[in-house]
């Protein structure tokens, strides 16, 4: 098990009702973390439209997560 801090932004934050939470997870990749939070917060947004960062660095869904990492879940972006 790994201790992962998950941060939620924009609609993810509104949906989860929290800015962040620390979870004890059996997760190998960022995608595993996302899937866990999707079922935890009953979210239906597909990963394909979303982005992820690990410890403030943009990452891919296949990027590995390590014990103590902070995973930032970004819903579909809309700058400009």
């Amino acid at each position: 098990m790994k201790t992962i801090t998950v941060r939620y932004f924009a609609m993810f934050r509104e949906h989860a009702g929290i800015d962040e939470e620390t979870l004890s997870l059996d997760a190998a990749t960022a995608a595993d973390v996302f899937e866990h939070t999707r079922s935890r917060h009953k979210s239906s947004e597909p990963a394909g439209h979303c982005k992820v960062a690990i410890n403030d660095e943009m990452a891919d869904w296949t990027s590995p997560v390590a014990d103590g990492d902070t995973v930032l879940l970004f819903p579909p972006v809309a700058g400009g």
Binding site: A10, M11, E45, K51, M58, A78, G79
Partner: protein, 145 residues
């Protein structure tokens, strides 16, 4: 220079920062808050950004633009917070020796900024509803689809 700000964007002041005697051309893009989106009358837009990653990713985009379309200076500023119709939400400015690089770099930067920076906008509609742009589930909620 890549910057996020909650203050109003002043394009004239930003333009002056790019002045360079070696520049033969300057191209800029301003993204403004529009009063309509997909048939819904918009009252105002609320922008949220995650600055540490947005600035880092913005700097990468500026570096990519400099590599692809060599220019003298390229800057980008994105605003966050509650914006009214007509407000400038994003500004891109490029100064270069010749116009071609300025046009191309400016276009590249704004296109990448829109797709890559962790910035979100919530539309507030005249009917009292609101919805996050590009978020399918939220759009369904907001529009009752």
């Amino acid at each position: 220079m890549m910057r996020m700000t909650t203050d109003p964007i002043d394009p004239d002041a930003l333009r002056r920062e790019l002045f360079d005697p070696a520049a033969g051309g300057y191209c800029s893009f301003e993204g403004w808050v529009r009063n309509e989106n997909e048939g819904h009358e918009v009252l105002r837009l609320e922008y949220e950004g995650y600055e540490p990653v947005a600035v880092a990713e913005g700097r990468k985009i500026l570096a990519e633009a400099a590599e692809k379309f060599p220019s003298l200076h390229a800057h980008c500023v994105h605003r966050t917070g509650m914006l009214e119709i007509g407000d400038c939400a994003v500004w891109v400015g490029v100064a270069s020796a010749h116009r071609d690089e300025a046009f191309k770099a400016c276009r590249y930067i704004i296109d990448e900024v829109k797709h890559r920076l962790p910035i979100w906008k919530k539309e507030h509609y005249t009917n009292g509803d609101s919805g996050w742009v590009n978020c399918e589930r939220c759009a369904e909620h907001a529009h009752g689809a």
